[in-house]
């Protein structure tokens, strides 16, 4: 198995890393999924993978490629097309101590499986009076930008974050894919690991060996004194570009990547806003009821006295995601919109 060359067109210019050091090994975002899965499955027999087309095909995005040849059909299970049953299978296996990774090909399909996710996975520990433990990981591909249209492009993390009992994880680069996926699989609570399908080919430094990034700890990507920019998932890349541009115009951005949106590292954000006095939140999801609303609300609860301007939000409009690439370009937030929104604060 050679995960490194699975993703054609890996773009070296777009490399981004949380802890980057050019002399170290680089790996693609999608390739980091396969590598992590393979390493964890080698060390822990209780981990198995199930989902649509994950076996022979290695997932429609290729990020499970090579797993079935190595681990066989019992540990890498091609399922019928039945999302409720896929999640339910994971739940049943998890309560008896296995560590299932169950895949929903596109994040939009969580809606098909929502009873199992929201009423079962998230609540079983509670319903069993603490007697059930669910070390379950749900992987799924989210995000727009590939002209995959209204039913294959959504970012539905806010829906999941609203349900007590689920941890929701959104890696922004390959380094985080590896560290966060490892943590999710070793975690004793149900997690949803959202793979951004437009990031698959992007590379950055990733350590060879397994490592964990704690769930619920955000990361300061760039320190700055004028404004706190909180960016989720792929929007971290756009926020970086915006911060670069603004530094040339005398606005110094502090860029925070929460990495997990449930639990949310609000302390890190509040500390930053207390320093900068300004905040802008960026996500791909629809603005109304998006995770940005929650973050803004918590900032004003905890750092109201420090704020010098209303909190800005950059997100998608209240309409389904268009199929047309031309229209989609206007729909999804980008660096330019982030720059405008930040400038509006000053």
């Amino acid at each position: 198995m050679s995960p490194d060359n699975i993703f054609e067109g890996a773009n070296e210019d777009e490399e981004s890393s949380s802890e980057s050091n050019p002399s170290e090994r680089k790996l693609g975002y999608g390739a980091a999924v396969v590598e992590t899965m393979a390493q964890i499955m080698r060390e822990d027999e209780s981990v198995f993978l199930a989902g649509e087309d994950v076996g022979a095909h290695g997932g429609v995005f290729g990020y499970f490629r090579g797993l079935q040849p190595e681990f066989g059909e019992d540990r890498v299970v091609d399922t019928p097309i039945a999302e409720q049953a896929i999640i339910g299978l994971g739940i049943g296996a998890a309560v008896q101590g296995l560590r299932p990774v169950v895949d929903l090909m596109f994040m939009d399909f969580i809606c098909v499986a929502m009873d199992q996710i929201a009423n079962q996975a998230a609540k079983l520990k509670y319903m069993f009076g603490g007697g059930a433990t669910l070390p379950l990981t749900i992987t799924t591909a989210g995000g727009a930008g590939l002209s995959a249209a209204a039913q294959h492009s959504q970012s539905l993390e806010a829906m999941l974050c609203h349900i007590p009992g689920l941890k929701v994880v959104m890696p922004s680069d390959a380094y985080e894919v590896k560290g966060l996926l490892t943590s999710c699989i070793r975690e004793d609570n149900p997690t949803v690991f959202i793979i951004n399908k437009r990031k698959l080919a992007d590379t950055c430094h990733v350590p060879e060996e397994l490592f964990e990034i704690p769930l619920g700890e955000g990361h300061v990507i760039r320190e700055g004194s004028d404004v706190t920019v909180v960016a989720i998932g792929r929007m971290v890349d756009e926020a970086k570009k915006a911060a670069e541009k603004l530094s040339g115009e005398g606005i110094d951005c502090e860029l925070i990547n929460p990495r997990t949106v449930q639990p949310l590292d609000i302390d890190l954000i509040v500390e930053s806003v207390s320093k900068t006095g300004h905040a802008v939140i960026v996500h791909e999801a629809v603005r109304f009821g998006g995770i940005g609303a929650e973050i803004a609300s918590q900032i004003q609860e905890q750092a109201f006295d420090y704020l010098d301007a209303p909190i800005g939000r950059v997100a998608a409009p209240f309409s389904p995601i268009p199929f047309s690439p031309a229209l989609e370009k206007h729909y999804v937030p980008d660096a330019e919109r982030i720059v405008t929104s930040i400038k509006n604060l000053f």
Binding site: V60, I81, S147, P322, L327
Partner: protein, 334 residues
């Protein structure tokens, strides 16, 4: 059972040849980056066209999955024109104009099966005479939607035809990993409705089965499940590489039973088709799809349409967002 007559068979073959020819053109357009992802119809032509020719376009609804549109020529030119807009991602590509009774493609697998039951039930309540035919794949049949809708339709005796196109694959998943049942048709037993398997490479068999199901439905006897067995001769979609998982022997066996070639051969033997007719139909099919493509390409696409069709009219918040968006697009275009 009612069989298609010679004239009907000629029309069926013509539609099959048109579908195959236009599918080739569409594939090339996708490869040139001119249209979005395409799910080729190759191998499904007889099943789709045979079924549709057994329907009454004026009264009967067709709910496609996503491989069908090029095979729905019987429902009128609007189907292709709208399909080309859809392939360009144009929002108008989702609306086949009235009175054409064809729904847009369904990408959420299984989701339109319950809709078919509701549509049929609505028609019964309104005393309309038609039936609803819903297409779905062997893969989609694993969804809960199929089982719930099949059961409900059985209870309601709704005038529905469930047409499962079993093309042996759901992306890379073969049918033996989709179900342990002997056939997809056998699932009808649990719904208390008739289920039958027909050779989907033979349009006459499909035509007969659908005609019979239609008679049952319109005489108040309820739904039928038909499984049409075919072989997916092309890729799952233009984003797929089937050589990674389709055994080449299986594919070459299936190619020998290619529904279009088989029927051409048979009809020529019966003097109902000729090479001249063939090339005439192919030429016209290409002209037609090129014309539809040009028309679609020249249909204005305003950035403003980005916010259309969420509700019947914008909420106040949406109108504010619309003006904001138009304003910022205007700025970035300067």
């Amino acid at each position: 059972m009612p069989k298609p007559n010679e004239k009907q068979l000629q029309m069926i073959l013509e539609d099959m040849v048109v579908a195959r020819t236009q599918a080739g053109r569409l594939w090339n357009l996708q490869r040139q980056g001119q249209v979005g992802t395409i799910a080729p119809i190759d191998g499904h032509e007889a099943a789709i066209v045979g079924a549709v020719h057994a329907l009454e376009t004026e009264s009967d609804w067709v709910l496609p999955q996503y491989r069908e549109p090029l095979g729905l020529r019987k429902y009128g030119p609007e189907v292709l024109d709208t399909f080309m807009l859809y392939n360009l991602g144009h929002p108008a590509g989702g609306h086949i104009p009235e009175p054409v009774k064809v729904a847009p493609s369904q990408i959420s697998l299984g989701a339109s099966i319950p809709h078919a039951v509701g549509l049929a039930w609505g028609m019964s309540l309104k005393d309309e005479s038609g039936v609803v035919l819903v297409f779905f794949g062997d893969g989609a049949s694993s969804e809960g939607d199929f089982y719930e809708a099949g059961n409900l339709a059985g209870v309601l005796k709704a005038p529905v035809i469930f047409l499962c196109i079993n093309n042996q694959w759901a992306i890379s998943t073969p049918t033996h990993l989709q179900t342990a049942a002997d056939s997809f048709a056998s699932k009808a037993e649990a719904f208390g409705i008739p289920g039958l398997t027909v050779d989907g490479n033979d349009p006459a068999s499909v035509y007969e089965a659908v005609s019979e199901a239609r008679n049952r439905a319109t005489s108040g006897k309820g739904p039928t499940l038909i499984e049409a067995t075919v072989y997916r001769l092309g890729a799952h979609t233009t984003a797929d590489d089937p050589t990674r998982y389709v055994p080449s022997e299986d594919l070459s066996d299936a190619q020998k039973k290619d529904p279009v070639h088989t029927l051409i051969h048979e009809m020529k033997e019966r003097n109902l088709w000729s090479d001249a007719k063939q090339s005439e139909v192919e030429t016209a099919a290409l002209e037609r799809i090129d014309e539809a493509f040009e028309k679609a390409k020249n249909t204005p696409l305003s950035a403003n349409s980005l916010m259309d069709h969420c509700f019947t009219s914008d909420t106040e918040r949406q109108s504010r967002q619309r003006s904001f968006l138009m304003h910022s697009i205007g700025e970035s275009n300067e």
